[in-house]
Structures are given as structure tokens and as C-alpha cells.
């Protein structure tokens, strides 16, 4: 296993798709699982959702947010990542539920693709709502269109699809008395929080994939702990999916900001080393 980058494609500004050679992920991956990657010897371990896996590679879609994701985006085809540990976490609990609404926001559109496919394979009727800031950031729409019975696109600025938020489209479905048996939502934590609030009000199970800060990703450290239904859970081994109706969102959001200062410092430090990154 050498974790070689077989191909790299720019999908949007600061969003890159990678196909990475791997031994175990293609063999044992199921939708909803993630990998922990480390790029270099002095690198940090970060979790990335696995978007797809075939024969000898796994597919990841990454948005440049902090030093590690920027650094990853600058890697070239043929280069090797130091470590790719996966698949980790529990697979998505996919079944035939009937009518399912799958919602992806921003870079969260990527992790919903495998879940949408798995739900479709189980025979669900599928509405997919995806949203981003602007049309350029709407990724994977062709693949999702093939999978979904109904694909709804929203953008904050209205440059494509409907202007507004994914939650507004969900509310619209509810107002129109669409039957919804289950919701899946992956995206910014605030988005997942609001989708979950709607689901709670409507009493619909709502699976979310949490993006807590992780260190080892194997249940050893508890960095990713989150309160679900009043209990302490570890996102890495008990999740990453939980029913969002029972997640303590405000606490999670604050936990995600624990290292904001350090993240900025690391990125500044990196920019001094490599120069301007706006071209990515």
C-alpha cells in the first residue's frame, strides 16, 4: 500500500477530487465511512469522508480549509500520502425506508453521494437537495442527478438553482405535504443543526455525519466526543452518523472552534513558506 495519488482534479475553486491507491479501503469500504490521513512526517491526522472506492483506489473530495487540506491540494499526481488509515467509523445505516430526503451543503455534498447511491440501491425514493454559496461551488451535480429521483439545487446568491438555503427547500417539501420517512444531512454544522431542528419538529429520523475534531480516529482519545441524547459518544467509533435530533449542537459547534487560533497560525506559517494560495 503506497497511498499514491492516481489522479487529481479541480472540481471548483479550492475543491479537489483525488483518486488514491489503497489496499484495504476498496476491499472493505461501505458508504458513510471515513479515513484518517496524514500527509507527511510532521503532519496532523485529519478525517476525510470516503466518497467512493473501486478495485484498487479510493476517492476523496477535499476543500482547502486549513494547512493540511491546502497542502493536500498542492500535491501532484504520482505523489504519495504518508498514511491513509481506513475505512473507519460505522457504515451509514441504510435500508429501505420509503421516501428519503438527502441534503448536502457545501463540501458536505461530497459525503452524501455514496449515501444517496446506497439508499437508491435499497429501493428508496430519493429527493436530493444540495446547496452552496454560489453556482461554482455546486459539485457532483451530474452524478447526483443520475442517482436522485428529484434533485434540487440552491445557492446563496441565486447563480444556479433556487436562491436561498437548503432548509427552505426542505420546509417547502413539508409544506407541500410530501411524505418524508427519513432525512440525511451532511454539511456545515450550523446547517445540520437547523435541518435537525426541522426533523425534530416533524418527528422524522434525521441522520447526520458529524465532523468533530479527531486525533487517532480509533476510539482511543475522546477528542471527538459529542453529547447525543444526554450521553457522551465518540464520533469516530460510535458514529460518525447520529440522529441529529438528539445531538447537542451548540456544544459541538464550540468544540469545533477549540483550535481556531492554532489553525490560523499554522496556515499563516504555511503561507509564509509557500506564498500565495488564492490560485488553488
Amino acid at each position: 500500500m503506497n497511498n499514491k495519488i492516481i489522479s487529481k482534479n479541480k472540481l471548483a475553486s479550492k475543491i479537489y477530487e483525488f483518486h488514491i491507491e489503497h489496499d484495504t479501503i476498496p476491499k472493505f469500504y461501505q458508504a458513510g465511512q471515513f479515513a484518517i490521513i496524514r500527509i507527511s512526517e510532521n503532519g496532523e491526522r485529519i478525517p476525510l469522508t470516503i466518497v467512493d472506492a473501486k478495485i484498487d483506489y479510493s476517492r476523496f473530495i477535499v476543500k482547502c480549509i486549513g494547512k493540511t487540506t491546502y497542502k493536500l491540494a498542492m500535491m501532484k499526481e504520482g505523489a504519495e500520502l504518508l498514511e491513509v488509515v481506513g475505512p473507519l467509523g460505522n457504515p451509514a445505516e441504510v435500508d429501505n425506508f420509503g421516501n428519503v430526503v438527502v441534503i448536502g451543503g457545501g463540501i458536505g455534498i461530497a459525503p452524501i453521494l455514496p449515501i444517496a447511491r446506497a439508499l437508491k440501491d435499497k429501493g428508496n425514493s430519493l429527493t436530493v437537495i444540495i446547496g452552496a454559496v454560489t453556482s461554482e461551488q455546486i459539485i457532483l451535480k451530474d452524478e447526483l442527478r443520475k442517482t436522485a429521483d428529484n434533485l434540487i439545487i440552491t445557492t446563496d446568491d441565486g447563480t444556479t438553482g433556487e436562491k436561498g438555503l437548503v432548509t427552505e427547500r426542505l420546509e417547502e417539501l413539508i409544506t407541500n405535504n410530501e411524505k418524508i420517512d427519513r432525512i440525511w444531512a451532511v454539511g456545515p454544522t450550523v446547517m445540520m443543526k437547523f435541518v435537525s431542528a426541522i426533523a425534530k419538529r416533524e418527528v422524522i429520523p434525521c441522520m447526520v455525519s458529524l465532523n468533530s475534531i479527531m486525533v487517532d480516529g480509533t476510539g482511543m482519545c475522546g477528542a471527538c466526543r459529542v453529547e447525543v441524547n444526554g450521553e457522551m459518544k465518540f464520533t469516530c467509533v460510535d458514529g460518525p452518523e447520529f440522529d441529529g435530533r438528539f445531538v447537542n449542537w451548540d456544544e459541538l459547534i464550540k468544540r469545533q472552534h477549540q483550535y481556531t487560533e492554532e489553525e490560523e497560525k499554522a496556515l499563516e506559517h504555511f503561507k509564509k513558506e509557500v506564498g500565495d494560495l488564492s490560485w488553488l
Binding site: 488509515v85 473507519l88 467509523g89 480509533t218 482511543m220 457522551m232 465518540f234 468544540r255 499554522a266
Partner: protein, 461 residues
């Protein structure tokens, strides 16, 4: 913990004021002269009580006799015939409760037991080329070892010497388990671990890194590929007090705190990408060796005030006396008979204080130690910027989801025979913390030795 005259040969140490600024090893080891002088204190008694205190059965009197004559190579051969990892156990074994506790000199007025651990460490560190270890004829049997910690390394080394084809699956990118992510460099330098791992590798053991068996590779997949399996995955999940406010920011499990620094180099942030907070007032909950390690790492990261908060008193503290002494020398404060009740966070959920209650000691509990009881009305607030909970580990839940069919006990650890490590599944053995819960490095090595013998008997049938 008597403080009377110590006639043992002292080991040189880094000055406390200097060492709190670095991660270099605190204890500096014996010179040849010092080792010989200490070895000569041994009476070479007939009772050989020290051996009964050794979980791996080293011929301790024989080893000491050879050192006293200056025959270091012979001494090392005696040591290595029973212990693949002497430089490690010489440093982290609680000798005072094992071999040194049973030393006959304890009964002689004015005498202290032989410093067996220091002698073991001295030998382990010698750069002596031993003859290649005798590896028996290759056997056509494959063994998988899950976890490259003390138990796994011992089992693999022993089985490789017997000629088995051994592959170790390790979840992290380095071998050593708790020896690399848990114990800090100033107590166990990482190059010492690396050297011992290299030795095991030189016996023909193969290492597969970054594989979490039960997750990235199914357990059943290994069962199909190997003739026998040893599970030595450690007690891989942190315990938390679970009191109100446990999810406040800047509250770490000791495992997280130590892993960030020891394995991922957070002490060198931003040269290393993994961050760690360096806050002024740090409270470490618990008073075991891991607590001492955490407190001393926090001190080295620059924390001004580091407090150990423990619900029992000094006498019940599980940490080794030596580690406790080192912590005191480094300016760690101790709050005995103090139990945290709740954490209070600020508007950003960063922990700012800890409500505590004073305790008193009652009747002995199941552990034989006097039970701590809260003193009503003694609640008080301790201001803290960071908390590290070091109250032990439990079995990782991956054990239940990823190792189906394996019988667990009611602590969710693996149920295995204490003499052989045999589990309820044929050909599957287990040992170390995943069986016993948090215990010591040498006990895990002892379990590894017994399991290696049992696996050999099973495969050689």
C-alpha cells in the same frame, strides 16, 4: 516510602530546573563502575526471592553475579534469554512492587534492596553485539499479532525465535503502543523503543502499520489467513469522570493529551501541524503514573501552575514513588483528598473552573484501599484553564463491533485463560491490558511470554 538512609548506588539525573525545559530523559543511567558497585551489594542469597517477583522469570541473581564480575555480555545474555525488551522494562517496570520488593535486603537493617531495575536498564542500554539469536528451523505456520505494544512485541519476538512466520498489525504508524504514544520521551526515550522494535524485526517479524483490525481489516479476514492470532490491543478507550461540563473545551483525556505530544509532536507546533493548548493553570485528575506523565508534560509545555487532583491521599496514590518524587522536584502541586464535582465553562465553553469537594478516608473498599468519602459542606472552586483526566482506560468499543464471537467479561475486556491467554475461539489468544484492564508494561510482557508458549504448543500439535 520510608525516607531512611539509602545505600543503593544513585543514578544520575538531569537537574529539575533544566529538565522542565526539555523532553530529554530525566534519569541518566549507571556507568560501568556504578553498575558493578551496585551489583556487588547483592548477597547472592540462596532464596532467590527476587525471581518470584518477576513476571517474566528473569534469572536475576545470575544476571547480577555476572555484572559484579564485569561480565556484561554474559549478564545481557541471561537477561535477554527471558526478556526481549530490557531497555524498556528497566525503565518503566514498577520494580519496587516486584523483584525489588521481594529482595532479601529489605529485611536487613540499614539496607535497601538491590536496584535491579537500574541494573537491567544498564544492560539494556549497552551497545554489545550479541551472537545472532538462535532462530529455530522455519515452521510452516503463520501467526498474526494484533497490536505492537509490550504484549504484542513480546509474543512476536518469542514466536519468531521458535521459527514461526509472524505478522504484527498495528493501528498507528509506529510500533510500541503505549510505549510511544503514552510514556513521554523524558521517561522512555523513543530511540530506546525503536531499538527494541528493530531487534524484534531482526528476528524476522513483519510489521503492517496503520491497520485497525476490526475496522480497516475484518477480524475474520485474519482468521482465514493465519493459523493462530494473538490480540494485544491494549485498553484502548479513555475513561472520563463523566461529571457535568465534561465536554467543555480544553478538557483532555490523558490519552489525547499525551498522543498529541508524544506521537504527533504537538510540543513543536507549528513546525509540527498537530496543535496543543498551553494554558497557565492545569489540573490533572488522578495520581497514577499516567497522571505524573501528563503533569510533567504540561510543565514542559510551559504551564505555570500544574496541579494533581486526587480523591484519595498520598499513601493510596498508585504512581511509582520515583515518578512522584520527580513530579515534586519539577514543581507539580498536589491536591490530595479532592474530588471534582463539575466543570464550569465560559461563554465559549472553555473550561474556567472546577467545583470540588474535600474527601476523608473511610473503611477499605474492594481494592483494599481506604474508601474516600465526601465531607459535607466542604465544596470549593479551583480556577483552571485546562484539565487532563488520567483516571484509567477501558476496552475500546471496536472490540464488541469488530471482533464478533469473542467472549468478553463484564468489564468488556477479553476473557482469556491467565496461564495461556487462550480465548473462547480456537487458535485465538489474548493478553495485556485488553484482558486485565489498565496494568503494567511488564505484566503485558509476561502475558505475551505465556501466550507465545501456548500458541507454540497449539500449533506444534
Amino acid at each position: 516510602m520510608a525516607l531512611n538512609h539509602d545505600d543503593r548506588t544513585k543514578m544520575r539525573e538531569q537537574d529539575p530546573q533544566e529538565r522542565i525545559k526539555n523532553f530529554d530523559e530525566v534519569a541518566l543511567g549507571y556507568t560501568e563502575e556504578e553498575a558493578i558497585r551496585e551489583a556487588k551489594r547483592c548477597m547472592q542469597c540462596k532464596t532467590r526471592n527476587c525471581m518470584s517477583g518477576c513476571p517474566v522469570g528473569i534469572d536475576i541473581p545470575g544476571m547480577i553475579r555476572e555484572i559484579s564480575k564485569g561480565n556484561f555480555k554474559e549478564a545481557l545474555m541471561i537477561l535477554k534469554s527471558q526478556n526481549n525488551l530490557p531497555a524498556i522494562s528497566g525503565r518503566v517496570c514498577p520494580q519496587e512492587t516486584q523483584c525489588e520488593k521481594t529482595c532479601l535486603l529489605n529485611n536487613v537493617k540499614g539496607k535497601k534492596p538491590i536496584a535491579i531495575g537500574r541494573l537491567e536498564r544498564f544492560l539494556g542500554d549497552l551497545n554489545i553485539e550479541l551472537a545472532e539469536p538462535a532462530i529455530e528451523e522455519k515452521k510452516d505456520k503463520k501467526v498474526a499479532v494484533i497490536g505492537a505494544g509490550p504484549a504484542g512485541l513480546t509474543v512476536s519476538g518469542d514466536l519468531a525465535k521458535m521459527g514461526y512466520d509472524v505478522t504484527v498489525y498495528e493501528a498507528f504508524n509506529k510500533a510500541g503502543g503505549v510505549l510511544v504514544y503514552g510514556i513521554p520521551n523524558f521517561r522512555l526515550p523513543k530511540d530506546v523503543v525503536e531499538r527494541e522494535v528493530n531487534y524484534v524485526e531482526s528476528l524476522g517479524v513483519k510489521f503492517v502499520y496503520n491497520q485497525v483490525v476490526g475496522r480497516t481489516i475484518p477480524f475474520d479476514y485474519l482468521r482465514e489467513k493465519y493459523d493462530a492470532i494473538f490480540i494485544g490491543i491494549g485498553a484502548g478507550a479513555p475513561r472520563f469522570l463523566g461529571i457535568e461540563g465534561s465536554n467543555c473545551n480544553n478538557i483532555y483525556s490523558a490519552s489525547e493529551f499525551l498522543t498529541r505530544v508524544n506521537l504527533l509532536g504537538a510540543n513543536e507546533f507549528p513546525e509540527y501541524d498537530t496543535p496543543i493548548k498551553i494554558l497557565d493553570k492545569v489540573a490533572v485528575i488522578g495520581a497514577g503514573n499516567v497522571s505524573m506523565d501528563s503533569a510533567r508534560v504540561a510543565k514542559r509545555l510551559g504551564a505555570r501552575k500544574v496541579m494533581i487532583v486526587y480523591r484519595r491521599s498520598e499513601e493510596q496514590m498508585p504512581a511509582r514513588y520515583e515518578e512522584y518524587q520527580h513530579a515534586i522536584e519539577e514543581g507539580i502541586e498536589f491536591h490530595w483528598l479532592t474530588q471534582p464535582l463539575k466543570y464550569v465553562g465560559d461563554i465559549n465553553n472553555n473550561v474556567k473552573s472546577m467545583e470540588c469537594i474535600k474527601m476523608k478516608l473511610g473503611e477499605p473498599d474492594d481494592s483494599g484501599r481506604r474508601r474516600p468519602l465526601p465531607i459535607e459542606g466542604s465544596e470549593f472552586t479551583l480556577n483552571v484553564g485546562m484539565v487532563i483526566e488520567a483516571i484509567g482506560q477501558k476496552a475500546n468499543s471496536v472490540l464488541e463491533t469488530g471482533f464478533k464471537g469473542l467472549k468478553l467479561n463484564h468489564w468488556s475486556c477479553i476473557e482469556s485463560d491467565k496461564d495461556t491467554g487462550k480465548t473462547n475461539i480456537e487458535g485465538v489468544y489474548a493478553g495485556g491490558d485488553i484482558v486485565t484492564g489498565s496494568a503494567t508494561v511488564i505484566e503485558a510482557m509476561g502475558a505475551g511470554k505465556r501466550a507465545a508458549k501456548a500458541i507454540h504448543e497449539y500449533l506444534d500439535k
